[in-house]
């Protein structure tokens, strides 16, 4: 177009002047890129959980002294329901015998749904106290606690957890039965006994660094 004076395209000069200009523009561009990244970083970082959200997700201490054998309580930790169950000696005997293991999908807790300290038949640190994340591994409903054997919620119920949404069944260690929609055992969150009557949910015992986000499926 005849309108503009012919501008010398950048870098078209020979030697000194052109390369000096190129160098300057290059440096300026590099600094500009650094600056842009430095600006973008805080914006992206701001979307990470804020300090108070992280603080609210800190471990919580739960007093289990009032939980009688055969009872369960429910607390919220990191917005998830956590079941704490005090199992009766009879229930423990039943679980230890392994009578129903053939009906379970994963009786030995081979799938990574718990820390190493919960990879046993009682899926817990102390046998009487069971701590589970109460979210069905099928599609996320909250199973009901149904410890009594009988004909509710289904025929020939042996005691455990029953998910009302699609009928998934778990035993009293949270292990999933075969032939139900749920694929995996209920996860066990990190927890630790601060004393005989207080459990801290969200903190592992010394020597373990189990992270709940490492499980196969919550």
């Amino acid at each position: 177009m005849a309108e503009t004076a012919q501008a010398k395209p950048m870098g078209a000069h020979g030697g000194g002047e052109g390369t000096r200009r190129d160098f300057l523009v290059l440096t300026a561009s590099a600094l500009g890129a650094v600056g842009t990244a430095a600006v973008a970083w805080p914006l992206i970082a701001s979307m990470n959980p804020a300090a108070d959200t992280l603080a609210a997700g800190a471990p919580i201490d739960v007093d289990i002294s009032k939980v009688a054998p055969g009872m369960s309580i429910r607390v919220l930790w990191r917005s998830r329901p956590i079941f704490i169950v005090r199992r009766t000696p009879d229930e423990l005997k039943q679980l230890e015998s392994g009578k129903d293991n053939a009906e379970l999908s994963d009786p030995d807790s081979k799938a990574l749904q718990q820390a190493d300290y919960a990879k046993n038949w009682h899926r817990s640190i102390k046998p009487e106290i069971l701590v589970l994340v109460g979210i069905c591994t099928h599609l996320g409903c909250i199973p009901s606690f149904a410890p009594q054997p009988g004909n509710t919620p289904v025929e020939n119920w042996e005691g455990g957890f029953f998910c009302p949404c699609h009928g998934s069944k778990y035993d009293l260690s949270g292990r999933v039965f075969r032939g139900v929609p749920a694929p995996l055992n209920l996860p066990v969150p990190p927890y630790n006994f601060v004393s005989d009557t207080v459990i801290r949910i969200g903190e592992n015992p010394k020597g373990s660094d189990f992270d709940l986000s490492s499980v196969e499926q919550l």
Binding site: E17, R20, R21, L24, L31, V34, G35, A51
Partner: protein, 261 residues
Amino acid sequence: MRKIFLAAGLAGLVSLGAAGPAPAAEESIALPTQAWSFDGVFGTFDRAAAQRGFQVYHDICAKCHSLDLIAYRNLEELGFSAEQVKAIAAGDQVVDRDDRGMPVTDDSGKIVMRPGRPSDRFAQPDKAVTSALPAVPPDLSLVARAREDGENYVFALLAKGYDTPPADWDPSAIYNKYFPGHRIGMPPPLTDNAVTYADGTAATLDQEVRDVVNFLEWTADPNLEERHRTGLKVVLFLIAMTLVLYAAKRRVWSDVHKDEH
């Protein structure tokens, strides 16, 4: 000519700045100014003073004044250890709330209190105390920012304000020289040795006020130090980048300017 325009504009802006975007008070009460560690471009918090100031707030001011924006866990920024913070939190009673943030009530409908945790916001002052007061004590979290020259204002009000009132002052009202209108609802809250400092510093009135101002400056602007640190890096970077850009601009324009007079 454009230079005169610039000068006029700048002069106007300066006078505007002197007047302050916040307008002058009814009468200009000249505030005595103090030197603070957090003043200026390179200001930092005096953490020892802020810790003592927290003690002053906690032991005295907290009886009537809330500090709603601060959580116990924030105290770690002042140098308290996690254990100390837990102990401080547990020493206060806070409203027990469920996960939706609603207060938990017992069977008779009374609100349940429990010991504080680090993640809790500071406990509220006892309602029995505050409801008996003639005026609502303001929350103190932002007081250092909510007043013009806040830190000097708070210092002057607490340490120097409870002066002898003028001759015609109504004796039933409390006089404070620096409170707007002079009629303050709060009797002098601090005296010498109102607290015993954990680090052994002599707790004169002046010292207590200095320390509580340091604390309140932190509650109002906890990011001050990070802001100054980052700001220094940013401005230095920008100066460097602008110099490079200027050199580049001159280079690029050299072939245009060489044809001009």
